[in-house]
Amino acid sequence: MSDRFERGLAAIDRLAADHAAIFDPVADIAPDLSRYVAEFAFGDLYTRPGLEPPHRQLLTIAALAALGDVRPQLKFHVAGALNLGVEPATIVETLLHCLAYVGFPRTVNAVGAVREVFAARGLLPVGDQRPTA
Protein backbone atom coordinates (compact mmCIF):
# COMPACT_ATOMS: atom_id res chain seq x y z
CA MET A 1 0.00 0.00 0.00
CA SER A 2 1.18 3.47 -0.82
CA ASP A 3 2.33 6.04 1.69
CA ARG A 4 -0.51 8.26 0.54
CA PHE A 5 -3.02 5.54 1.32
CA GLU A 6 -1.55 4.98 4.77
CA ARG A 7 -1.50 8.73 5.42
CA GLY A 8 -5.10 8.93 4.25
CA LEU A 9 -6.24 6.11 6.53
CA ALA A 10 -4.55 7.81 9.46
CA ALA A 11 -6.25 11.11 8.56
CA ILE A 12 -9.65 9.42 8.35
CA ASP A 13 -9.07 7.70 11.68
CA ARG A 14 -8.24 11.05 13.30
CA LEU A 15 -11.62 12.30 12.14
CA ALA A 16 -13.89 9.29 12.56
CA ALA A 17 -14.16 6.25 14.79
CA ASP A 18 -13.44 4.03 11.78
CA HIS A 19 -13.34 4.26 8.00
CA ALA A 20 -16.10 1.72 7.35
CA ALA A 21 -18.59 4.47 6.51
CA ILE A 22 -16.39 5.42 3.56
CA PHE A 23 -15.18 1.98 2.49
CA ASP A 24 -18.20 -0.30 2.98
CA PRO A 25 -20.66 1.31 0.52
CA VAL A 26 -18.29 0.77 -2.42
CA ALA A 27 -16.29 -2.27 -1.28
CA ASP A 28 -17.87 -4.82 -3.65
CA ILE A 29 -18.27 -2.57 -6.66
CA ALA A 30 -15.50 0.03 -6.80
CA PRO A 31 -12.88 -0.62 -4.14
CA ASP A 32 -10.53 1.72 -6.00
CA LEU A 33 -12.98 4.53 -5.24
CA SER A 34 -12.42 4.20 -1.51
CA ARG A 35 -8.69 3.97 -2.14
CA TYR A 36 -8.92 7.28 -4.04
CA VAL A 37 -10.92 8.85 -1.21
CA ALA A 38 -8.17 7.82 1.19
CA GLU A 39 -5.32 8.90 -1.11
CA PHE A 40 -6.58 12.03 -2.89
CA ALA A 41 -8.90 13.52 -0.31
CA PHE A 42 -7.56 12.48 3.06
CA GLY A 43 -3.95 11.53 2.30
CA ASP A 44 -3.17 14.53 0.11
CA LEU A 45 -5.46 17.28 1.43
CA TYR A 46 -6.26 16.63 5.06
CA THR A 47 -2.62 16.17 5.94
CA ARG A 48 -1.59 19.53 4.48
CA PRO A 49 -0.55 22.30 6.84
CA GLY A 50 -2.03 25.74 6.25
CA LEU A 51 -5.51 25.22 7.70
CA GLU A 52 -6.33 23.96 11.16
CA PRO A 53 -8.27 20.65 11.13
CA PRO A 54 -11.43 22.17 12.71
CA HIS A 55 -11.39 24.87 10.03
CA ARG A 56 -11.06 22.26 7.31
CA GLN A 57 -14.15 20.54 8.68
CA LEU A 58 -16.18 23.75 8.57
CA LEU A 59 -15.07 24.37 4.97
CA THR A 60 -16.02 20.84 4.03
CA ILE A 61 -19.43 21.25 5.67
CA ALA A 62 -19.93 24.54 3.79
CA ALA A 63 -18.94 23.04 0.44
CA LEU A 64 -21.25 20.07 1.01
CA ALA A 65 -24.11 22.39 1.94
CA ALA A 66 -23.53 24.29 -1.30
CA LEU A 67 -23.63 21.08 -3.34
CA GLY A 68 -26.74 19.58 -1.74
CA ASP A 69 -27.67 15.91 -2.22
CA VAL A 70 -24.75 14.82 -0.04
CA ARG A 71 -26.48 13.69 3.14
CA PRO A 72 -24.14 10.76 4.00
CA GLN A 73 -21.02 12.87 3.43
CA LEU A 74 -22.44 15.79 5.40
CA LYS A 75 -23.28 13.55 8.33
CA PHE A 76 -19.80 11.97 8.23
CA HIS A 77 -18.06 15.34 8.27
CA VAL A 78 -20.32 16.81 10.95
CA ALA A 79 -19.48 13.83 13.14
CA GLY A 80 -15.82 14.44 12.30
CA ALA A 81 -16.08 18.07 13.32
CA LEU A 82 -17.63 17.08 16.65
CA ASN A 83 -14.85 14.52 17.15
CA LEU A 84 -12.31 17.31 16.68
CA GLY A 85 -14.02 19.34 19.38
CA VAL A 86 -16.01 21.77 17.23
CA GLU A 87 -19.04 23.02 19.18
CA PRO A 88 -22.49 22.07 17.83
CA ALA A 89 -23.46 25.77 17.77
CA THR A 90 -20.44 26.52 15.56
CA ILE A 91 -21.56 23.92 13.03
CA VAL A 92 -25.06 25.40 12.99
CA GLU A 93 -23.60 28.89 12.64
CA THR A 94 -21.59 27.75 9.62
CA LEU A 95 -24.77 26.57 7.92
CA LEU A 96 -26.58 29.80 8.81
CA HIS A 97 -23.70 31.69 7.22
CA CYS A 98 -24.08 29.58 4.07
CA LEU A 99 -27.79 30.41 3.91
CA ALA A 100 -27.07 33.70 2.22
CA TYR A 101 -25.10 31.98 -0.54
CA VAL A 102 -26.85 28.66 -1.09
CA GLY A 103 -30.47 29.62 -0.31
CA PHE A 104 -33.10 28.25 2.04
CA PRO A 105 -33.81 24.77 0.60
CA ARG A 106 -30.24 23.50 0.72
CA THR A 107 -29.71 25.10 4.14
CA VAL A 108 -32.87 23.58 5.60
CA ASN A 109 -31.93 20.17 4.19
CA ALA A 110 -28.38 20.43 5.53
CA VAL A 111 -29.63 21.42 8.99
CA GLY A 112 -31.96 18.41 8.91
CA ALA A 113 -29.02 16.08 8.26
CA VAL A 114 -26.94 17.73 10.98
CA ARG A 115 -29.84 17.40 13.39
CA GLU A 116 -29.74 13.59 12.97
CA VAL A 117 -26.07 13.53 13.99
CA PHE A 118 -26.70 15.78 17.00
CA ALA A 119 -29.76 13.76 18.05
CA ALA A 120 -27.80 10.50 17.96
CA ARG A 121 -25.24 12.04 20.30
CA GLY A 122 -27.75 13.67 22.64
CA LEU A 123 -26.67 17.17 21.64
CA LEU A 124 -30.14 18.66 21.18
CA PRO A 125 -31.39 21.27 21.73
CA VAL A 126 -28.69 23.60 20.41
CA GLY A 127 -29.17 27.07 21.84
CA ASP A 128 -29.34 30.09 19.56
CA GLN A 129 -26.23 32.17 20.13
CA ARG A 130 -27.86 35.29 18.83
CA PRO A 131 -28.39 37.97 21.47
CA THR A 132 -32.07 38.64 22.01
CA ALA A 133 -31.62 42.37 22.61
Binding site: L51, R56, L59, A62, E93, H97
Partner: protein, 124 residues
Protein backbone atom coordinates in the same frame (compact mmCIF):
# COMPACT_ATOMS: atom_id res chain seq x y z
CA UNK B 1 -28.51 51.37 14.67
CA UNK B 2 -30.78 49.50 12.28
CA UNK B 3 -29.95 46.17 10.69
CA UNK B 4 -29.24 48.12 7.51
CA UNK B 5 -26.74 50.39 9.28
CA UNK B 6 -25.08 47.43 11.00
CA UNK B 7 -24.95 45.63 7.68
CA UNK B 8 -23.48 48.59 5.84
CA UNK B 9 -20.76 48.90 8.47
CA UNK B 10 -19.72 45.23 8.10
CA UNK B 11 -20.04 45.38 4.33
CA UNK B 12 -17.64 48.34 4.27
CA UNK B 13 -15.27 46.60 6.69
CA UNK B 14 -15.12 43.43 4.60
CA UNK B 15 -15.40 44.69 1.02
CA UNK B 16 -13.85 48.14 1.45
CA UNK B 17 -15.26 51.63 0.96
CA UNK B 18 -14.12 51.84 -2.64
CA UNK B 19 -16.15 48.83 -3.72
CA UNK B 20 -19.22 49.72 -1.65
CA UNK B 21 -19.21 53.35 -2.83
CA UNK B 22 -19.00 52.14 -6.42
CA UNK B 23 -21.85 49.71 -5.81
CA UNK B 24 -24.02 52.40 -4.23
CA UNK B 25 -23.24 54.85 -7.02
CA UNK B 26 -24.36 52.24 -9.53
CA UNK B 27 -27.62 51.52 -7.73
CA UNK B 28 -30.78 52.39 -9.63
CA UNK B 29 -34.43 52.41 -8.65
CA UNK B 30 -34.58 48.95 -10.20
CA UNK B 31 -31.68 47.48 -8.19
CA UNK B 32 -32.21 49.37 -4.93
CA UNK B 33 -34.51 46.76 -3.33
CA UNK B 34 -31.85 44.08 -3.91
CA UNK B 35 -29.05 46.30 -2.61
CA UNK B 36 -31.09 47.10 0.51
CA UNK B 37 -31.94 43.43 0.97
CA UNK B 38 -28.35 42.16 0.81
CA UNK B 39 -27.14 44.93 3.07
CA UNK B 40 -29.78 44.27 5.72
CA UNK B 41 -30.32 40.52 5.44
CA UNK B 42 -26.91 39.18 4.43
CA UNK B 43 -24.49 41.72 5.90
CA UNK B 44 -26.67 42.95 8.77
CA UNK B 45 -28.47 39.70 9.53
CA UNK B 46 -25.74 37.10 9.03
CA UNK B 47 -22.26 38.61 8.92
CA UNK B 48 -22.89 40.47 12.22
CA UNK B 49 -23.81 37.32 14.11
CA UNK B 50 -21.53 36.10 16.88
CA UNK B 51 -20.48 32.45 16.80
CA UNK B 52 -17.98 32.59 13.93
CA UNK B 53 -15.16 35.06 13.60
CA UNK B 54 -14.77 36.96 10.35
CA UNK B 55 -11.76 34.92 9.23
CA UNK B 56 -13.83 31.77 9.49
CA UNK B 57 -16.77 33.43 7.74
CA UNK B 58 -14.43 34.38 4.91
CA UNK B 59 -13.07 30.82 4.63
CA UNK B 60 -16.58 29.37 4.54
CA UNK B 61 -17.74 31.94 2.00
CA UNK B 62 -14.82 31.19 -0.34
CA UNK B 63 -15.59 27.47 -0.13
CA UNK B 64 -19.26 27.98 -0.93
CA UNK B 65 -18.64 30.40 -3.80
CA UNK B 66 -16.05 28.02 -5.26
CA UNK B 67 -18.54 25.15 -5.14
CA UNK B 68 -21.24 27.32 -6.72
CA UNK B 69 -18.95 28.74 -9.42
CA UNK B 70 -20.12 32.21 -8.37
CA UNK B 71 -17.06 33.94 -9.76
CA UNK B 72 -18.18 37.57 -9.50
CA UNK B 73 -18.86 37.15 -5.80
CA UNK B 74 -15.75 35.02 -5.38
CA UNK B 75 -13.61 37.89 -6.68
CA UNK B 76 -15.20 40.25 -4.15
CA UNK B 77 -14.72 37.81 -1.33
CA UNK B 78 -11.08 37.09 -2.16
CA UNK B 79 -10.48 40.79 -1.49
CA UNK B 80 -12.70 40.53 1.57
CA UNK B 81 -10.75 37.52 2.82
CA UNK B 82 -7.50 39.51 2.62
CA UNK B 83 -9.17 42.34 4.55
CA UNK B 84 -10.36 39.79 7.13
CA UNK B 85 -6.78 38.65 7.69
CA UNK B 86 -6.42 35.55 5.52
CA UNK B 87 -3.07 35.14 3.83
CA UNK B 88 -2.77 34.42 0.11
CA UNK B 89 -1.65 30.90 1.00
CA UNK B 90 -4.74 30.34 3.14
CA UNK B 91 -7.05 31.54 0.36
CA UNK B 92 -5.43 29.12 -2.08
CA UNK B 93 -5.61 26.33 0.49
CA UNK B 94 -9.37 26.83 0.91
CA UNK B 95 -9.87 26.56 -2.86
CA UNK B 96 -7.62 23.48 -3.11
CA UNK B 97 -9.54 21.83 -0.28
CA UNK B 98 -12.91 22.64 -1.83
CA UNK B 99 -11.84 21.02 -5.10
CA UNK B 100 -12.09 17.59 -3.52
CA UNK B 101 -15.79 18.16 -2.89
CA UNK B 102 -16.92 20.40 -5.72
CA UNK B 103 -14.61 18.99 -8.40
CA UNK B 104 -11.39 19.98 -10.09
CA UNK B 105 -12.98 22.32 -12.71
CA UNK B 106 -14.57 24.36 -9.92
CA UNK B 107 -11.30 24.64 -8.03
CA UNK B 108 -9.33 25.36 -11.20
CA UNK B 109 -11.52 28.26 -12.28
CA UNK B 110 -11.81 29.57 -8.72
CA UNK B 111 -8.03 29.56 -8.51
CA UNK B 112 -7.84 31.59 -11.72
CA UNK B 113 -10.21 34.17 -10.22
CA UNK B 114 -8.20 34.28 -6.99
CA UNK B 115 -4.92 34.66 -8.87
CA UNK B 116 -6.32 37.54 -10.94
CA UNK B 117 -7.58 39.33 -7.82
CA UNK B 118 -4.39 38.74 -5.85
CA UNK B 119 -2.37 40.10 -8.78
CA UNK B 120 -4.64 43.16 -8.92
CA UNK B 121 -4.28 43.74 -5.19
CA UNK B 122 -0.51 43.39 -5.44
CA UNK B 123 -0.53 46.00 -8.22
CA UNK B 124 -2.76 48.47 -6.34
Amino acid sequence: MTEYDDGMAVRRDVLGDEHVDRSIAGTTELTKPFQDYITSAVWGGIWTRPGLDRRTRSCVTLAVLTALRAHDELALHVRGALRNGLSEAEIVEVILHTGAYAGVPQANSALAVAKRVLDEVAGD
